[in-house]
């Protein structure tokens, strides 16, 4: 029998990058705010010296993670994310540094849900959550109509259940 597995080709929405950048910026602001409060408390109650060192360490970490999550990660994530659906398998491939490729038989999919936060809604995107008996997967940030199509496709293919033994 011929192999039915092609490398997955379908990509996420290009707009996803913008959503990720925005959410990362917000997250970084929260981090900075928390650090600011800690720094204020540190000054106000003159906490011991080692707390200072930890705070400095945290500042370095926040700066690094800000650079990564705002300027690098969104583009990388978009560039490498691939998925595909056919009548037999759902394939998900992601990860720039560590590539992860999931192969999920359609017959094992138990449920599929869409979700949308405020930023995804603004850009007309949807996230699909796919559950099997043993695992849970996400396809983040698909254009709304594509997401609905994919959802219906999976729902149709996954309707066939194999006899569990």
């Amino acid at each position: 029998m011929e192999s039915s597995l092609q490398q997955p080709e379908r990509r996420l929405s290009k707009k996803a990058v913008r959503v990720w950048v925005i959410t990362s910026i917000i997250e970084q602001f929260i981090n900075v705010a928390v650090l600011g409060v800690l720094y204020y408390l540190d000054q106000r109650f003159s906490w011991p010296q080692w707390v200072n060192w930890i705070l400095i360490g945290l500042v370095v970490l926040v700066v690094l993670s800000a650079v990564w999550s705002v300027f690098i990660s969104p583009w990388l994530t978009y560039r490498v994310w691939r998925y595909d659906v056919n009548d037999e398998f759902l394939q998900l491939k992601r990860g720039a540094i560590r590539e992860v490729h999931h192969i999920v038989p359609m017959t094992k999919i138990q449920s599929i849900a869409t979700k949308q936060g405020p930023f995804l809604r603004k850009y007309g995107l949807l996230t699909l959550t796919i559950k099997t008996l043993n695992s849970e997967h996400e396809i983040p940030a698909l254009p709304e109509d594509t997401a609905i199509d994919v959802r219906n496709l999976i729902a149709r293919y996954a309707k066939i259940k194999e006899v569990e033994e």
Binding site: M1, S3, S4, L5, E88, F89, G95, I97, R98, E99, V100, H101, H102, I103, V104, P105, T107, K108, T132, L133, N134, S135, I160, K161, E162, V163, E164, E165
Partner: protein, 502 residues
């Protein structure tokens, strides 16, 4: 079969036994150790303690009155509640395996316990009878078997064949016994099961005897040589006593555990029974075995023995028993284990033609930092421990660990092998203790391939399979060539041909 029944009244005895076992420590603390105390805290604590025990015991009685069960066609119906009633249906087709456990107390009261395990994560979804007469347990098990068999024949055969099908199902299929440990196995097991643990106190007694200042001063005072002879004579005697005690203890334990051990099967199911006074048995449908795992700790490998485990989707922990019955006799010779699997589960038979890893895998493995070693070295540097009052510099211990890590990696590389044959995939891995895992394509419910930053330039990949079990079983093999991973993907993509859809 139409009337809903209460559970056997002796269930209450076993629940009480569990309650006592769980509460006894607190009870002893409150009523024995602090018996004389008139402190307000203890006084109230005692009342609360008695209150809790009383209420719990009452709740058991209430539950016994209100919980009932019924065997329907094709499913258990479990009822509970007096005012707000609930009914739970557990279809026989969802039962993954059956466990029976007979403890001392069960034996004393002429009872047994039985659990029908489903694949749900929640223990709530298995059907447990804490106490029932063995005959009733047999009846339940047979009823379910029969129902299952009927359901199958209904599916496959037409009405014309019904008569012959009925004839078949009325006569129970013959069980074949595949393995019963003999005297030789018992002796081997006795030496292996406990002797190594028992050596620890022996060594300790030796060390403490030689070190003890008492012996030492006596040596100094009353003639050095005679004291030395005296001491060594004592040490030898103690060692011999300890060793023989250990072996006897091991033998008794082995006989209690594996005295009536048996692996049997018929066309449909595999049956494992063990225990001498306290007995446990386990049965699983052959088609529901998800995978077979062989485990070889170093000692077993040197002696050519293998532990084998059947992985099934039912939770093995529902009965609360600590012993893991799904592992087959752990002191079986490797050849015999392989032969046994060929007899009872031919689909899971293993092939010897496995592919080793390419040399570049070893290279990649050595580039990978050993977090264990780094953290251990950090701790050694910080604490500078000196075990047994022997002063060793921290870097020496760290170096010893490093050597061990390197040996373990070399061994792991040498042991790791994989093969894909027909519908099965199998691989072996592990440094000191090796694992060999065999599963069928149909039973692999998901596959994942990973490539890390070191693996990509070397053209290597990690493969993970997910099998249904409780908890979910993830099994992986690291650093296989990308081509082999591609072959495995192709192999998996042909899965659709294996499965039967509803």
């Amino acid at each position: 079969m139409t009337q809903a029944k209460r559970y056997h009244p002796l269930v209450l005895v076993f629940q009480l036994k569990n309650l006592i076992r769980n509460m006894i420590l607190i009870g002893v603390y409150l009523f024995v150790f602090n018996a004389g105390s008139n402190d307000a805290f203890y006084t109230y604590a005692r009342y609360i303690f008695i209150g809790i025990i009383g209420l719990t015991a009452l709740s058991y009685v209430y539950k016994w009155f209100t919980h009932t069960y019924k065997l329907d066609t094709g499913a258990f119906q479990l009822y509970k509640g007096l005012f707000a009633k609930s009914r739970r249906t557990v279809p026989f087709s969802k039962i993954q395996n059956v466990q029976r456990h007979t403890s001392w107390l069960h034996r004393l009261l002429g009872m047994t316990s039985i659990t029908f395990e489903t694949s749900m994560e929640d223990n709530d979804d298995s059907v447990t009878f804490r106490a029932l007469p063995p005959a009733e347990a047999d009846r339940l098990e047979d009823f379910i078997k029969q129902q299952e068999a009927e359901a199958e024949t209904e599916e496959t055969e037409t009405d014309a064949a019904e008569d012959s099908a009925e004839m078949e199902s009325s006569a129970p299929p013959a069980k074949t016994v595949h393995f019963r440990p003999g005297m030789k196995d018992h002796i081997k097991a006795s030496f292996l099961s406990l002797s190594f643990f028992a050596l620890i106190p022996v060594i300790f007694s030796l060390v403490s005897n030689v070190d003890s200042t008492d012996t030492f001063t006596r040596m100094m005072e009353s003639g050095f040589v005679s004291a030395l002879v005296d001491a060594w004579w004592k040490i030898t005697l103690i060692a011999v006593l300890f060793a023989s005690a250990a072996v006897i203890f091991g033998a008794v334990k082995t006989i209690l555990q594996y005295g009536r051990y048996e692996i049997a099967s018929d066309d449909e199911r595999i049956y494992i029974t063990k225990g001498f006074f306290q007995t446990s048995s386990f049965s699983v449908q052959k088609s529901r075995v998800q995978a077979v795992e062989y485990r070889q700790p170093p000692i077993n490998r040197w002696l050519g023995m293998t532990e084998m485990r059947l992985i099934s989707a039912g939770g093995a922990n529902a009965t609360g028993g600590t012993e893991n019955i799904t592992s087959l006799y752990p002191y079986m010779s490797t050849a015999r284990a392989a032969g046994l699997i060929e007899d009872i589960l031919p689909v899971f038979s293993i092939t010897d033609a496995m592919t080793p890893l390419p040399r570049r895998s070893l290279f990649v493995r050595f580039l990978r930092p050993s977090w264990f070693w780094l953290i251990a070295t950090g701790l050694l540097f910080y604490f500078e421990p000196s075990p047994f009052d022997i002063h060793v510099p921290w870097w020496a211990l760290s170096a010893v660990l490093l050597v061990l890590v390197i040996i373990s990696r070399l061994l792991d590389f040498a042991h790791t092998r994989y093969a894909v044959h027909d519908e099965c995939i199998q691989w072996r891995k592990g440094g000191w203790t090796t694992f060999l895992f065999v599963t069928k394509r149909e039973k692999v419910s998901e596959m994942t391939f990973k490539r890390g930053i070191l693996q990509k330039p070397a053209g290597l990949s990690t493969m993970v399979t997910i099998n249904r079990s409780n908890p979910v079983k993830h099994t992986d093999i690291d650093d296989i060539p990308v081509d082999a991973a591609g072959d495995m993907k192709d192999w998996y993509s042909r899965r659709t041909g294996d499965i039967i859809t509803e």
